[in-house]
Symmetry: C2
Subunit: 118 residues, 2 copies
């Protein structure tokens, strides 16, 4: 069920990959669209690490829980949406992809993903 939600997000966003992952860096489910961008798993693990660190630090700084993190590089746009205390979703899109649509799709399916996690 996770996989079909992730697949829907990737295909509608014309993205490369969506991963449901824990803060421990372990992927629960992943959907990759066939594309010549190589393996994005190492990215996802790295983002888990960064997100964990930010979560800890920003908690101390009293800025409230992180809801979303986005990174735009020369090659990719990455949108990370936190689901709960333990899990988040990483959507990787091409650099000139429709960022707004990616954000919308993650927000749209947030509730379904949270429900599935329970």
């Amino acid at each position: 069920m996770f996989r079909s939600i992730l697949q829907g997000i990737v295909e509608e966003a014309e993205g490369y990959s969506a991963v449901l992952m824990g803060y421990d860096g372990l992927a629960v489910e992943q959907y990759d669209r066939p594309a010549e961008v190589g393996d994005l798993t190492s990215f996802a693990v790295e983002y888990a690490h960064i997100l964990k660190e930010m979560k800890d630090t920003l908690g101390v700084l009293n800025s409230g829980e992180i809801e979303e993190l986005t990174v735009r590089t020369e090659r990719f746009q990455i949108i990370i949406r936190t689901l709960n205390e333990e899990y988040f979703v990483i959507l990787t899109m091409k650099a000139n992809g429709n960022y707004g649509k990616g954000r919308y799709l993650l927000s749209r399916d947030l509730f379904r993903l949270r429900e599935e996690l329970q």
Copy 2:
């Protein structure tokens, strides 16, 4: 001159604060709008640290240079725009602020800020 550019961005975006900062965590210039959100300097230093780490890691992962990083928490939206190898700008806005406008303003003034840095 930096200060007037930062002030323009903060006021037009109705943001809290804009900081021109180096990857070493030292602020070159800062403009804070009077607001009851407390001192945001500790955030900025923390983001410098995170950005530095991401820059190093993503460089290894061959994803291209980081151009923009955004973080949305329960209290804030933070948009970080890299200027060059050494400096970046952090714009902190309220959680329900106009994110798109903030991004636009940073892009608009990117060239002026880069020029000033030379």
